[in-house]
Amino acid sequence: MNEINWILAAFRIIGVLVMMSAAVFACWLLSGRQSPKRTSEVFGWLFLIVLWALGGYALTSRYALGLGAVTHLSDQFPWGIWKGLVICGIAFAAGGFLTACMVYIFRIRTFYPILRPVVLTAYLGYILSATGSLLVDLGRYHQIWRPIFYWQDQSVLFEISWCIILYSCVLTVEFAPILLDKLGWNRVSRVIHAITVPFVICGVILSTLHQSSLGSLFLIVPNKLLPLWYTPLLPILFFLSALISGFAMAIFVSALSFWIFRHPLEPRVLTSLAKGMTPVLLVYLFLRVADLTARNAWVYVFRYPLQGTTFTAEMLLLTLPLFVLLKTRWSGRRRWAFAAAIPVIAGVILNRLNVAWIGLLPAMHSNYFPSWIEITVVLNLVSYGVVIFGIAARYLPLFEHPDIGGHSHASTTGEHEKAIVQLEARHV
């Protein structure tokens, strides 16, 4: 027994040390390959080192001791916030397929500049929040490949696994130009270029499927999920809210990344995204209200205090931005478009947590609340995404316009030409 404790301690120490050195290295890269200069930078370094050290402890504990020892999951409540992160993360990666569709399929010039940062966000969302979180959450994480070979076509989860695998391939193709530009591999770049549009079409189809399927996951529990959220419309509502969060994330990511990294961003980008989000949000809210009324489910708001509160919060977060979005005087300003995106993002997160966690509690006679290890792992996975994005923004051509198609050269704007000249200059 004593020996096992020693092995566990050693395993944990190694985990913490590895994660701390990774944090130092990441911070060094983020600060431009320098040690921290300003006080704010020092605090940033310290924060990340502490967070990742805790992450090292949390992850080694999870793999050494198993789910029961480190999580608050139980037979009564088998799905926790790790599954919640999968469901939220995929909703927020919707910005990727949405922007790719607007750029490659609809050829809307306004959105060319934000394609790369948003696609990278989606890529990270899928790799970290979907695959990464499943690698922690699955009881047999080492069997994660199994759905590839063991088919069970009645299962929503099977469909989602396949969509995640295929869509990750699509995202790789969409992301590849960023890396290839940096490396200057023109021949590979040309091949990728030729296959992009069909891949984007596949990406939109796959996203439509699995964004809605995440809602279908809960169709099987009519007696467990509170009627405030359980409805046969779940797949449609999940797809619509994924679109909404896709617009909101595109606003959020492009605004933040362009502001933080001091790249000029046309004001039209954010306001056009906000304009696109408004009708979807209206349709979504109309469907929600009509559905709740038709099923006579409003009474549950008062019957369950906790669920009533989170439901009200969710609805308010999704409704309030409309006051900004519907007033052209405000929504025409990018600051307001940005301000409207934030409650929308929070509202969709809350919606996913309500469906996958809070709305299930009463019927499952559970008072599940995640353990500190579960929370630490979630924060870690999110921080990996933020850090990788930051490093990519610093070292990869993330804010340059993609070259969309042969004809787009004909009507390029001055800025676009400049970007191409820059690109060609680098290749020479």
């Binding site: 198993g66 029961g68 050829r107 299962s155 809605s212 996951l217 009519p222």
Partner: protein, 285 residues
């Protein structure tokens, strides 16, 4: 699932064959009503827990300590080890009615339909069995089961398993009755063909209408292989409320069956848009 079969009959085109190959070519499953079942006559149960003990022994776990046989302490719930137990619910002013709990072996089980890798299977002879070497540990079955039956081996760090009653499929294959049925001293449990047991339940109710007033499992969630006969309502016996009569997998199937249509519709729309936009951009040039 009839809706499912009809769906594939009407849409069996080449494109769909590629998408749903396995469903198309899978052999038609045997009528689940023909499979094995157990009739649980709760009016005969004395709560001796011999079934609970027999189940532990058969699954290779330690038997119940002798002192706990009969009314008394025990785990009192299903767990990874405890695949059946006697639930002593407080029946209010009525005497306590012990209720045996275990997997109900639904005719169209939610757990089987949700498993992404097919680790759970409804066998033709009746049992819903779990194949641990295929499981990936997603625990969707635990969430989806309307009766909260599957339990997890939470303390196993490397190869955790799902624990649930398998209706003693191995004993059934050898022509024996399940261990719990064999151990029951009062004749509460009767093993046989489900259709015949339903018939018998009907006969008993007709013969003694005062003693037998409710039958449970005939059509809840599409019917279960285990059927309960009792003198009081299922709600008083602790069975879950608000379950539909329709099998739960059909709730999901309604969404999944639309997958091919979504693929074709979205694909066509996008292809049209691509053509239209390419022409537009060329003309502008």
């Amino acid at each position: 699932m009839i809706s499912r079969r009809r769906f594939f009959q009407t849409t069996a085109t080449g494109a769909l064959a590629a998408l749903g190959a396995r469903s198309l070519f899978a052999e038609t499953p045997a009528d689940p009503h023909e499979g094995a079942g157990v009739l649980v006559d709760l009016t005969r149960c004395i709560g001796c827990r011999a079934c609970e003990n027999a189940c532990l022994v058969r699954a290779g776990f330690d038997p119940l300590p002798a002192a706990t046989i009969g009314y008394g302490a025990g785990e009192g719930k299903l767990s990874f080890r405890t695949r059946t137990f006697i639930d002593f619910r407080d029946g209010g002013t009525e005497p306590k009615q012990p209720v045996k709990r275990q997997c109900m072996h639904c005719l169209e089980p939610a757990c089987v339909s949700v498993c992404p890798v097919g680790a759970l299977e409804k066998t033709k002879s009746g049992p819903v069995v779990y194949r641990e070497n295929i499981c990936i540990g997603c625990r969707y079955c635990i969430l989806a089961c309307p009766f909260n039956v599957p339990k997890y081996e939470w303390d196993n760090a490397l190869m955790p398993r799902v624990g649930k009653c398998d209706f003693c499929a191995d004993r059934q294959a050898k022509g024996q009755s399940p261990a719990c049925v064999a151990a029951c001293p009062t004749g509460t449990l009767k093993f046989g063909k489900r259709a015949e047991l339903l018939q018998e339940a009907r006969e008993r109710m007709d013969a003694q209408p005062d003693r037998y007033r409710y039958v449970y499992g005939k059509d809840v969630v599409g019917g279960t292989s285990w059927i309960y006969l009792a003198d009081r309502a299922p709600e008083e016996l602790g069975f879950p409320q608000g379950l539909p009569k329709e099998p739960l997998p059909s709730l999901t199937w309604r969404a999944i069956s639309r997958v091919p249509f979504v693929v074709i519709a979205v694909g066509l729309i996008l292809a049209v848009v691509v053509r239209w936009r390419t022409r537009n951009v060329t003309e502008q040039a």
